[in-house]
Symmetry: D2
Subunit: 342 residues, 4 copies
């Protein structure tokens, strides 16, 4: 059986695992006050170009938790968060953002992306008269890189959104749950660009090589002044915090995060090439580790006993969109085996 | 100056005021445990056909407060509330519903109304696969009668929504902030129908003759078992609860609530007739106390020094939609004076 | 029947009522944007010595609502509020403060009052080591003036608490639900002192002459920048906001607020004198409109058919503490009649 | 350096680690819908005597998260939770319980334990009159086994608390963060007793052999009907849920959970024996893996460069209470080495 359902199906990258095994019997203080966590913080900040007190980082366990905790940190009480309709926080987080009192305000999605012009129009209209006092104020803008459908913003697009955020004095939060794959496939956006353009963002671990863990980075270190209490109030503080430190230190040593991203994207491109050569239609053209095709239902039925993947929406009359996801552990051999199934 | 901005611009109906004045120096126990409140409850339940323990009623101060408190009472923890995009809770309540953890889930608005078929489709799609566990469960359906744009549901339309709610085991909550005007203008919906079709609803006072106050009615009296604590936790319990009892008793004696509705609708119809006779275009055809026209900007500019009303959205190039609202205190003379201004 | 249960049993002071009646049919804009509210704001700020932009004021409906809304405004997300064990927010508000995520942290009560030395010790111990990151940070200090048992702080005591708040950089919030009675009975604390010593406080209306309403005053006007949205998210924004403005303008014209306080205190002192002369024991010596005695149960049983008052705690074997409350409407005649009952 | 600061300083028990390593490259569905989690559920329910649909279990990541999520599941909206003053949720969880709107109501602590008689008195007094409607209703009773100071309830004590909960119709929640150590040291309480006496409880993993993870067990399986959404709304749903399943399956195979508890308690008893033989005074007599002594400050100063442990409260003039914690990884050799340091 070949699995392409998602990028959280395996444990962690072997280099991460070996660090967890090596350090397992050591005793360290809890809650992220250990040396491994300090080291991981330094490595992450360096990779982001935020050394020397120009930034800070904190580690959380999972993606929905991170989105809810960060939005509740950055947005004012009862402020909302602007995102596109397909945004993860709007669709697939069981109301975790609303659970702490923040409305999700939606803009149209353009293959998963927000349009800077539409964002500016929204702000212009919102603050157009006094009525906004009776509406939910936007406290933060949320975008994903890559998006939920595997697309990525160009540097120009990100910069345009940044400028709108500056104009309306609203912070920008980038969800990087799959950042490794996005950075590798981007023509012009680097980790340092993300760190400079976002006010706060996170480097995804769960889908990019760790057992779990997301690194929240900000160039406003003062925002994290009471972060331990804030995280704990969200039930999100890990007792054995060093598990996060050990894993993120491994990701940011020896270029592992890039290698992980590279493997996911390379195998995804091999899959795309193989599928299009065989005449299958793309549902959406993604440069990252998520690939979307429109397959005849008979092909889907033939594949499913031997390969797992997601129907993208409900099954349709003759052809149905499907999603295939690769990751750091997918091999060329997996792709070849799958293409042979066709 | 003639005012048609809204229906909360005056104090209260003189018959209500006189009861407040008469009872002012009496001393009664607090928090709604007084005799006036008991009497008002009985009158309201009788008018709703819910006597003899078949229903219960509780009084709150304002509309947004009532929506937030009722939704938080009826929906499960972190459940969402379904409403149309133009729904008051989605647009004009500063996030009061999300403040207690409930997402507002939106359906298309058809001149302010929800379509039962679309509601059923939404439920069918939502519960179509296991994904819903990662989404916000719908804990209650919210509609307004009349809607925010002055339209009203027919009895058949309400019944169809009721049936969808039954099918998907989800309660129906009707916001009746302007109920007096809606009942008077409806061809076939009575207060008893509303009480039987909704699981819980409220009879608006603030916009229909009282200084403030909304009467929440339910045919599930057990839902109000701990209502005092729940209301107080929402900061919504009035110390001098009898003020609500005195006012609602006045509304439901001598047919006052109907007379109030009738005056609002009659004067609105006179306004509509006068305007259309003078060749002005309707923006939307409302049978209630809100009237919408599309006026040439020059007419708007000429009127504004002598009459106040709301632009409905941003001012446009040559013609702009506007809203006029009448209420229990609007007179035929007001309408005539206004028509003369044209 | 004579009623001494509480100070919210009557409607409003006749001078307030007459203003409501006079203005009833006027039409004004909503939500506190009317002229009456502007006028009331000016009068209140002047009485507090906070004219010329040195302060701001906003009106809410009730006491629990005000406490919850202000604490949620001033304290950081998930910060706690320090108060004495007998504090109203800790005991009698159905969890309204916790409802928006703020823990109530308690100190010992000294006849209802907080001790500045104990407050300082608490802070010293709390910030003594790093453990506080895992505890609830204190975001605001809450005291009541007068307290729930009718006692009042001297100016020296208030100043000492203020100094501790300054030392630990934590704002001070004073709940003045019964402020009128407290100011009149204090030897040295004026309204201007309260306004200068508290960061934010409220002037109670509900128990001091209005139908409802509390005026929140702060010498940090920037704190109220988004106050309309914040209040509305708490379900606390009154549509006919002018009702609050009309009432508070009446309270602060012609010295009415002081006269109201004076009547409550004078009649309370007459009661105290009469009772002690008749040999009844004080349970607590209060200078304000709440009076506490320890009465023999047989006296209580004899009085209850003709006078209502509260047992202060559970009935005891032979003697039980009781509370009597006077207000702006209590007359000398009421007191004399009551003393005759004995 | 010898570490006795806490029982979360190491990674996980080698038998748990080896299962994580073995399964690392397998691909499984997410969010706990995998086979490992199913297997772990069966093992846990069997150990609890809750097979055949008589109970259900769900896995969370950490202790504070579990307390907040369970209390918010079980208690009604705005209901409080009763615990002793030293209860973990009251002291060391940064307000995570209040964050979702639940007040912590405290009773006196008797060496960390709640007294059933005092609990009954509290309920009797609370429901003594109508005032409770203005107070926070108790929605759940919370105790810890073992307590925060290492003491344990006897079966008779637990049964007495259970009876009070039944009498007042309030569920009982037992926090078993250190349950392994408590069960081993108890004379008469078994895991099945805990499962039968509590309405809901959790079996701690983080402090008892896993990297992280707590197993919430209830004999009311219907309570977990919407648990995935509830957990996700709390930001507490682990994407790679199988990590929890793999670890808990390991704990409940081959009697590992008991062996872990046994090692912690045996080494703690060896420490206690060694210390008391050397004449050091017990601060509190604990039968579990936490040991409390009162040490002369000079002894503390001599030890600290070579052994870490916690001062229990602030350092005092000549002697200071200290806490030593052992766990599944502490060896006899560690204890002997430490005793030699003395």
């Amino acid at each position: 059986m070949l699995h392409f359902d998602s990028d959280y199906m395996r444990g962690c990258h072997p280099e991460v695992l070996s660090r967890l095994v090596q350090t397992n019997m050591e005793q360290t203080p809890g809650y992220g006050s250990d040396e491994y966590t300090s080291r991981a913080k330094k490595l992450v900040l360096k990779a982001c170009g935020l050394e020397d007190g120009r930034g800070d980082v904190v580690f959380l366990v999972g993606g929905t938790q991170t989105n809810a905790t960060v939005i509740d940190l950055v947005a004012g009480r009862y402020d909302g968060v602007i995102c596109v309709e397909t945004g993860h926080i709007n669709v697939h987080e069981s109301g975790a953002v609303e659970a702490s009192g923040h409305k999700v305000i939606t803009l149209p999605s353009h293959e998963g992306k927000m349009d800077a012009g539409e964002l500016n129009e929204w702000f212009t209209s919102f603050y157009g008269d006094e009525t906004w006092k009776h509406m939910v104020r936007p406290g933060v803008v949320y975008i994903t890189f890559p998006t939920e459908v595997g697309t990525i913003y160009t540097k120009a697009e990100l910069t345009a959104i940044r400028e709108v955020c500056d104009k309306w004095n609203t912070p920008l939060f980038i969800d990087g749950a799959r950042l490794a794959y996005g950075l590798v496939s981007s023509a012009d956006v680097t980790l340092k660009d993300i760190a400079a353009l976002a006010d706060i963002f996170y480097i995804g671990g769960t889908k990019c090589g760790t057992l779990f863990g997301e690194a929240v980075v900000t160039r406003h270190p003062e925002w994290l002044r009471h972060i331990v209490s804030h995280i704990k109030a969200h039930g999100a503080l890990m007792a054995k915090g060093r598990l996060l430190g050990v894993q993120f230190a491994a990701l940011f040593e020896n270029d592992l995060y890039s290698r992980i991203g590279r493997n996911g994207v390379d195998t995804a491109m091999a899959l795309k090439k193989g599928m299009t050569e065989r005449g299958f239609e793309l549902f959406m053209d993604s440069p990252t580790n998520q690939q979307f095709f429109v397959l005849p239902n008979e092909v889907i039925d033939r594949l499913l006993p031997r390969a797992s993947f997601e129907l993208w929406g409900a099954r349709q009359a003759t052809h149905t969109p499907v999603r295939f996801v690769t990751d750091w552990g997918t091999t060329e051999e997996d792709i070849n085996k799958f293409l042979c199934l066709l």
